[in-house]
């Protein structure tokens, strides 16, 4: 899996095209490759309850649709893979 800025806990989205790095306030893009300061943010794709089934779609606990890129910082079910 390639880690990108959008998967980092320091990524702050301005919109669907771009964001800000919380560490230095520089403009970055969601699909930029991660830098040295990268720290993974909880997302479905990093969760042990998530099963990928097709591109950009899977299931949570194998019983409800879920999508890999959803942020899960407030999900009680989240468990790191």
């Amino acid at each position: 899996m390639e880690f990108k800025c959008k998967d980092c806990k320091f990524y702050l989205a301005i919109d669907v095209f771009k964001g800000i790095c919380k560490l230095d306030q520089k403009r970055i893009f969601p699909d930029d490759v991660k830098c040295m300061s990268y720290e993974k943010i909880p997302k479905c794709k990093f969760c042990s309850n998530f099963t990928e089934e097709k591109e950009n779609l899977g299931s949570c606990m194998k019983n409800y649709p879920a999508y890999p890129d959803m942020t899960a910082i407030n999900c009680q079910l989240f468990q790191w893979k």
């Binding site: 919109d15 669907v16 095209f17 950009n56 999508y67 959803m70 407030n74």
Partner: protein
């Protein structure tokens, strides 16, 4: 043709004039506004995902509890986003201009890529308005898909990673959404097929039940300000103890649903505080770090208890504003008389020297940016064709206090100043004009108007109160309470109440909204298009489909024409009112308003949500019209040319209309205003008839011939609405604002008897003259506009364009104020200005990248020029420009 057509007064200077008043915002607000300018409208699936998942998990639960749990889940799972330098935090979704789809209202639109569903929706008339709407091509609109981003409705960007789940979630609402359930039952209305024809012909623009079921109303911030979130939860718990097991059990479920939703909102706020704390830990700049810590502390405080200072109060009302917006697709949730609501907090702070005026101004500027960030996710036809991307958060100033004295205060002066220094479309400002308001305040309003932002609107306090007492008197409204009114949405007169706020051991009566959406119902009816069907025996000549039954009349005299018009109009209102009632009934049963209800008096007292008439006032359904000036001018032309002077026959006229008076259509030319149209090879054949049409008496010139037609229309229209009932068994009232519908509705209408050409935009608003036809100056326009009693209608709307040179300097300001007073003293309801040189607008059309911040007034709202569709841009350019007042 007619290059100077749209000017009144001497020709403008050769140089393009800029606006006279120019001030800059604070550095912080400028930074945040620039961030806004950078941001594109973006949508995400977080909230709808969790809403839908929780909803499905609770299959079989009491509907309002199920809804509350779904909303709670949505709030609790939202990822908080705080931007650098923000002093007021919180947003609808994970982006700066964030929003999200609400498939529980309507899912067909999101499944548009699936051909079969799309075709079904188009056939039923639901999406017709989308196809004739132009969306602004600049600014923050994501008009095209590119790379990892998909454009939805020509405005919203969605990351492609989220498209599959959007489709998955939308499918779960098929046959279950408000749209689908409402549609299922509205087909049981005997003449339902007529409704489909009316929608397909774009005689009516949209159904409010599933598109924008709430909004066009004034929020009420009193309850959280007075009791805090924990206090409100405690009140509900006590009420549950009283009502559980006793008759009228719906109250139990309502109180329980309020507790659930408040818990969700509390956790949402706490999640924001955690994010602020986190940001403080990684922030290197000491000042910013401290600000994050203060944000966190403020959020923790207001997550449980009432605010203890102005800044906390501001933060709290902002979060509750967003909380309401996240429960439904809403446009026009107005903060109301915010300067009067927050005055107790601000006065205490300023007296104690815990805040300065410059700090206040900075906060108010930040609030302006936050309001401007609000986006409403809906279809192209609604967002583009009706709203022009606007969300109509109208902040009102002035008016009277509970005891009848002027309500103006120092904080309102600062709100006006923030509107000047930090020009943004939201919140738009309105001055509730009363003779008791002092001159200094009014001149401050003039200074703000002269910035060219399009606000404040000038609104007649007495006319509004008379309307309210006429319509809500039967529900107990007294003159004292009528004074608490405010504008909901762009220009919807909305009832209010005086709420007893206790702060620092003092009692204040603050105003707040006390009715649900005041503009739901029959939206919008195209008057010129209905006249077209009269002239063509019930047919829509654009699609060649039958809309109304054949009248088979020869239309031999004016009365026959006028009576047939009234008959068709009545038929349209009748069927649309009934089908709309069914949609709203589906809405209140599936998608209960809980957040908005807990804020509205007297829902908590009664234990009922607003869908169960929990509000103090409930007579809020209306019939909205569009194209008044074109209808009146057309009737005038037919009366004069066909029936009185017999300059041409009705058959000759029909032929001329079908040939667009010998011009190319707007669709062919790409220009939607009367100016700049191009003759075709048939020009000579029809120029005589067209000349007669153009020269017929026009509204706006103090001409009794045409003004008497206006008066007859207004008296009849305002009266006939009450023959129809809302689902709450209350009469409808008239509402006369065009918003942006005059663009798409004009686009589908053939040439009209007033000389307007096919596809061109109608006159804006309801009291604005058609561009270039008001040749006797503003005072003649005012006399024409006030030939009828404006308090018969929820509103009337007049937009005037003035060249900056006409109101220049202090003397210009005084003249300007007298101009406004002249109209309002005559009984006019609303007056709004574009102080702009039209040539600047033309330049902006050519070079939009140089005019990102340019704002104009459309019809009841201000919008960035670059975010308007071309239909509306052309219409604003074409408006009559007064070079002198």
């Amino acid at each position: 043709m007619l290059k100077e057509y749209n000017y009144f007064g001497p020709a403008p200077d050769p140089e393009v004039s800029d606006r006279e008043t120019r001030k800059k915002p604070t550095k912080r607000a400028e930074f945040l506004r620039d961030l806004y300018f950078e941001a594109k409208s973006s949508t995400s699936m977080e909230f709808p995902y969790w809403y839908t998942r929780t909803w499905e998990e609770l299959d079989g639960e009491i509907p309002i509890i199920r809804r509350a749990e779904a909303l709670k889940s949505g709030f609790e799972h939202l990822t908080p986003v705080i931007y650098p330098k923000e002093l007021i935090v919180g947003g609808k979704a994970i982006y700066l201009r964030g929003s999200f789809p609400m498939p529980w209202l309507s899912e067909a639109f999101y499944l548009a890529s699936e051909d079969k569903l799309y075709k079904e929706a188009l056939e039923s008339g639901k999406l017709t308005a989308d196809t004739v709407t132009t969306m602004g091509q600049g600014g923050g609109n994501v008009t095209k898909s590119a790379g990892s981003v998909i454009s939805i409705a020509g405005k919203f960007g969605l990351r492609k990673e989220e498209l599959p789940v959007l489709i998955e979630i939308s499918k779960k609402w098929k046959d279950k959404s408000v749209d689908d359930i409402g549609h299922k039952y509205e087909q049981m209305v005997p003449d339902y097929k007529d409704k489909e024809e009316i929608m397909r012909s774009v005689i009516c623009m949209f159904d409010s039940g599933y598109t924008l079921p709430q909004g066009r109303e004034v929020i009420n911030y009193y309850y959280p300000l007075q009791w805090g979130i924990d206090g409100l939860i405690y009140i509900c718990e006590q009420e549950i103890n009283k009502v559980a097991g006793n008759p009228d059990m719906d109250r139990l479920y309502f109180y329980r649903s309020v507790i659930l939703v408040l818990t969700g909102i509390k956790n949402w706020i706490l999640n924001y505080s955690k994010e602020a704390k986190f940001l403080a830990t990684v922030e290197k700049d000491e000042k910013q770090k401290k600000e994050y810590e203060e944000i966190a502390r403020r959020l923790i405080n207001i997550s449980s208890r009432p605010p203890e200072n102005f800044h906390e109060a501001l933060q709290m009302i902002w979060l509750f504003h967003i909380a309401v917006l996240n429960e439904d697709a809403i446009s026009g949730l107005s903060p109301g008389r915010l300067g009067q609501i927050l005055y107790p907090y601000w006065k205490e702070d300023i007296d104690n020297k815990t805040i300065t005026k410059s700090e206040t101004l900075e906060l108010l500027e930040c609030l302006r940016v936050k309001f401007t960030e609000i986006d409403c996710f809906a279809s192209t036809g609604v967002v583009g064709g009706v709203l022009s991307g606007n969300t109509f958060n109208n902040l009102c100033l002035g008016g009277l206090k509970k005891d009848g004295i002027s309500a103006v205060n120092e904080l309102e002066m600062l709100i006006l100043e923030a509107g000047i220094t930090c020009g943004t479309p939201q919140p738009t400002l309105s001055i509730l004009y009363d003779e008791k308001l002092d001159e200094e305040f009014l001149l401050k309003g003039i200074e703000c108007t002269k910035t060219g932002t399009g606000y404040p609107a000038w609104v007649n306090n007495n006319v509004a109160m008379e309307f309210l007492l006429n319509n809500y008197g039967s529900e107990g409204m007294q003159p004292e309470e009528a004074r608490a009114w405010s504008i909901g949405g762009c220009l919807e007169t909305s009832p209010g109440s005086w709420m007893p706020l206790t702060y620092k051991n003092k009692l204040y009566y603050i105003p707040g909204g006390s009715a649900p959406a005041t503009s739901v119902g029959v939206h919008f009816l195209s008057l010129p298009k209905i006249l077209e069907t009269v002239l063509f025996n019930g047919l829509d000549m654009r699609t060649n489909e039958r809309v109304f039954p054949s009248h088979n009349l020869k239309l031999e005299n004016y009365n026959e024409l006028w009576n047939t018009f009234k008959d068709y109009f009545t038929r349209a209102v009748d069927v649309l009112a009934r089908t709309n009632n069914i949609q709203h009934d589906a809405w209140r049963k599936i998608s209960h308003s809980i957040v908005n209800s807990l804020l509205k008096p007297d829902c908590l007292e009664k234990g009922r949500d607003i869908g169960q008439m929990g509000s103090r006032y409930n007579r809020t359904f209306n019939v909205e019209s569009c194209g008044t000036a074109n209808l009146i001018n057309s009737l005038s032309s037919l009366k004069k040319n066909v029936y009185e002077e017999k300059n041409f026959t009705i058959d000759e006229f029909r032929d001329a209309v079908l040939n667009n008076f010998g011009y190319r259509t707007a669709l062919e030319t790409g220009s939607y205003s009367l100016i700049d149209q191009i003759p075709s090879e048939k020009f000579d054949k029809y120029k005589r008839i067209h000349k007669y049409c153009l020269e017929a008496p026009k509204y706006g010139n103090d001409d009794t011939f045409v003004d008497s037609i206006l008066k007859e229309w207004e008296d009849w229209f305002c009266g006939m609405c009450s023959n129809f009932k809302s689902l709450y068994d209350m009469p409808l009232y008239a509402c006369q604002i065009s918003v942006s519908t005059h663009g798409p509705m004009g686009a589908v209408t053939l040439a009209t008897p007033d000389g307007r050409l096919c596809g061109t935009t109608f006159a804006d608003a309801s009291m604005s003259a058609y561009p270039g036809t008001d040749k006797n100056g503003p005072y003649a326009l005012f006399t024409s506009a006030t030939c009828w009693n404006h308090s018969l209608s929820q509103n009337s709307q007049m937009n005037v364009k003035i060249h900056p040179s006409a109101v220049k300097g202090r003397e210009g300001s005084r003249k300007f104020l007298e101009l406004i007073r002249a109209y309002l003293r005559k009984g006019g309801f609303h007056l709004q200005f574009n102080i702009v040189d039209s040539r600047m607008l033309k330049q902006a059309q050519k070079e939009p990248e140089k005019y990102r911040g340019l704002m104009v007034r459309v019809a009841g709202f201000t919008q960035y020029w670059v975010e308007l569709g071309k239909q509306i841009q052309d219409e604003v350019i074409a408006r009559t420009e007064y070079e002198e007042v």
